[in-house]
């Protein structure tokens, strides 16, 4: 995940001094961008605890961890990955609508490969299936990236092509059927456990950590932000935007493909029609909840992970509380609106002004100004 002190120090945000006074620490915490998503996630989890008293219980069942929190992590892992790729694309002021189709294609290719092989359980077959899926994902990502970077097609249009056509491709691969595979090796990716931990969670965690390391410990993150923040300035500074754009779309497609492998592996079947349906919207939502602006120019990996976990926890909450299916979407929309409002500095400033607390107001406005400066920077 991201390193908060490092980040705030780098952006030099007002209202976030690095003092050792307890008051200053509190103030800094209150101004931290990840505070609100974290609080929302905590509130959702505590809300579940009120209804299901052993919600936080984790026990070892048949040699692996078992509990609601583990479920949230395991089902959230694909969404975290898709949202991670989406974060990088959005940081360049782009968007990738084709991730859902890429999820379906990756799952379909892998299952087709395994179902057609003589020894579905062998490591060679599974690795072959993974390689095929990831290889095709690179091609799909290149298509998106080249359309956007070289031909100058708007990202929403360029990726819409693959979003529509991709699902057709997935159905052609599976012949419109659901392909069931029985392979222990393949099941490990999305539904299996390694050292009692869900393998999918470990995999997603590793990808997030690696991405954070590469983008924040090298100039890459800054370069990507510069492409989204101010392309003209970036070009004058000698940044090769086209290469970076292509790179983020390929990365996004790869993340989606791994997510597709997880989803299809978890249920040991490939469903060209439904796998990853609307996951692009969930991913965009996760990115936005996490505090990455759709206008590009900056991104927060930690925020995205929190956003994805909030969305998955919300689904679990719906099942646990027994919200009627007809009103599920309204319930989710309500929570999302609340999350977006509490995160909006303008809204928070307004609310605190109404309550007449000048102290909070000043930090709130300072925060808003700070954000604007950051976007412009």
């Amino acid at each position: 995940m991201t390193n908060p002190p490092d980040r705030s120090a780098r952006t030099g945000r007002p209202g976030a001094p690095t003092g050792a006074v307890p008051g200053a620490v509190l103030k800094r915490l209150a101004g931290h961008r990840l505070l609100w998503p974290s609080l929302v996630l905590l509130a959702l989890l505590l809300g579940n605890l009120a209804f299901t008293h052993d919600f936080f219980d984790i026990r070892v069942q048949d040699g692996h961890l078992y509990g609601s929190l583990i479920d949230i992590l395991q089902f959230g892992a694909p969404l975290i990955l898709v949202a991670l790729g989406m974060t990088m694309v959005i940081a360049t002021r782009g968007i990738d609508l084709s991730v859902g189709s890429t999820v379906a294609i990756a799952g379909a290719l892998a299952c087709e490969h395994i179902a057609g092989s003589a020894d579905p359980g062998s490591a060679g077959t599974v690795l072959g299936a993974v390689a095929v899926a990831l290889g095709v994902a690179v091609v799909l990502g290149l298509c998106n990236g080249l359309l956007v970077a070289r031909l100058g097609v708007q990202p929403i249009v360029a990726t819409l092509i693959l979003m529509v056509a991709g699902r057709g491709v997935a159905q052609l691969i599976t012949d419109g059927q659901i392909i069931t595979v029985r392979s222990e090796g393949y099941h490990l990716i999305g539904g299996g456990y390694w050292l009692t931990f869900p393998f999918a969670v470990l995999l997603a965690g590793a990808v997030v950590a690696l991405t954070a390391f590469v983008t924040r410990r090298s100039a890459l993150g800054l370069l990507i932000e510069s492409v989204g923040g101010n392309p003209a300035a970036g070009r004058l500074a000698g940044i090769r935007a086209a290469g970076l754009l292509t790179l983020v779309y390929v990365f996004c497609a790869l993340c989606a493909a791994v997510a597709g492998l997880m989803i299809s592996s978890n249920v040991q079947s490939a469903d060209g029609n439904n796998a990853g349906l609307w996951i692009e919207l969930d991913a965009i939502l996760a990115v936005v909840i996490g505090g990455t602006a759709l206008t590009g120019g900056r991104f927060s990996l930690g925020g995205t992970v929190l956003g994805a976990l909030i969305i998955q926890t919300l689904s679990t909450t719906v099942y646990t509380l027994g919200v009627p299916p007809q009103t599920t979407l309204v319930f989710k929309a309500f929570v999302v609106v609340v999350v977006c409002l509490v995160q909006s500095p303008v809204f928070r400033a307004k609310m605190s002004r109404r309550r007449g607390r000048p102290h909070t107001r000043s930090t709130g406005t300072a925060d808003a100004v700070g954000r604007q400066q950051e976007v412009r920077a």
Binding site: Y66, D71, D175, G176, Q177, I178, N266, Y319, G322, T328
Partner: protein, 331 residues
């Protein structure tokens, strides 16, 4: 160079998609012979919804094979889940002066105009699998398809019989289909109608699993955490049940024993699960209505009276019948 190659590849990919789908719609058309009444053979124009699921593929195959068997010339069109394609296909059939038109409406409404055109041309229409909401029932001769409410009732009846000697309470969780779809509404209503008569049955949780395995598993996992004493799972289709089975196994329980499972559709994978003892009963929703359709088509063309609603032949399969039935499952 690399950029050109990738671009060419993407173009080829897109082209391949469009041509392949086009092939699949046009191929059956090329089989048409003669047409009209010239050779005394009945010509049936069939406008299919698309190929969105294994169930639908089996449905298409059954119609094509039965037509061949019955000596009926079939003009087949695939609407790819779009109403306008289906209307175009039906207009095409009217122009070609087929003897009878059959179709599975993509959606329920908006059919009056094209059905009236068929009526004016004197071509009888048979609806299959899905209904239309047209008030004027003279626009079509008959409806051939499944009764989703009855399927729900059959599921409920099996449950009441299974627990006849049990004092209860029996805790049931329900995995619904896509919210608002006809099969989800009707299967829920039919089941509730039968099970609701006895107080010992309690539906403790009911959520949508969108008819998919992934959702079925996810929702069932949450059910297992929030309800400790689940006795029965009722799933609106096999795919959700198959997903739920994995969730139950991961919770360390035995599907089919610790939690009894009732499911609807009758796909091959569900029969495999039944032979393994993981599903207790499957209520069939039969896509193989080809033979019945050809029968009806002949009767309608000959001017015989047909009932306004014909139900497909559907069974209820339990574990002891599964082994025997499995080799014959076509979908």
């Amino acid at each position: 160079m690399a950029r050109r190659a990738a671009l060419a590849l993407s173009t080829v990919l897109l082209l391949a998609t469009s041509t392949l789908t086009a092939c699949s719609t046009e191929a059956p058309d090329s089989e048409k012979t003669g047409g009209g009444n010239s050779d005394g053979k009945i010509t049936l124009g069939f406008a299919q919804v698309g190929a969105e699921s294994g169930w639908r593929t089996a449905n298409t195959k059954s119609i094509q094979e039965s037509a061949k068997k019955a000596g009926i010339t079939l003009k087949f069109s695939d609407a790819q889940q779009k109403q306008e394609n289906q209307i175009k296909a039906i207009r095409g059939f009217i122009q070609q002066k087929v003897d009878v038109i059959a179709f599975s409406p993509v959606v329920e409404s908006g059919w009056d105009t094209v059905l009236k055109e068929a009526k004016d041309a004197g071509i009888p229409v048979i609806l299959t699998d899905r209904a239309v909401d047209s008030k004027d029932t003279s626009l079509y001769k008959t409806f051939l398809g499944s009764d989703f409410v009855k399927e729900g009732r059959s599921a409920g009846e099996w449950l009441t019989k299974e627990y006849a000697d049990d004092k209860g309470p029996v805790n049931v969780v329900e995995l619904q289909g896509t919210t608002g779809s006809a099969p989800a509404n009707d299967r829920k209503a039919g089941f509730a109608e039968v099970v609701g008569k006895d107080d010992k049955f309690k539906v403790v949780a009911s959520q949508t699993g969108d008819f998919t395995r992934a959702k079925g598993k996810e929702v069932m996992q949450a059910f297992l955490k929030s309800h400790k004493d689940i006795d029965v799972l009722y799933a609106h289709n096999d795919d959700m049940a198959l997903g739920a089975i994995q969730a139950i196994e991961e919770a360390g329980k035995k599907p089919g024993k610790d939690i009894k499972i009732i499911s609807i559709d009758g796909i091959k994978d569900a029969f495999v699960a039944m032979t393994e003892g993981k599903i207790n009963v499957v209520v069939e929703c039969n896509p193989l209505l080809g033979d019945q359709l050809m029968d009806l088509a002949k009767k309608v063309v000959d001017g015989e009276e047909v009932p306004p609603r014909v139900e497909t032949e559907e069974g209820v399969f339990t574990q002891d019948q599964a082994e025997e039935a499995l080799p014959n499952r076509q979908y």
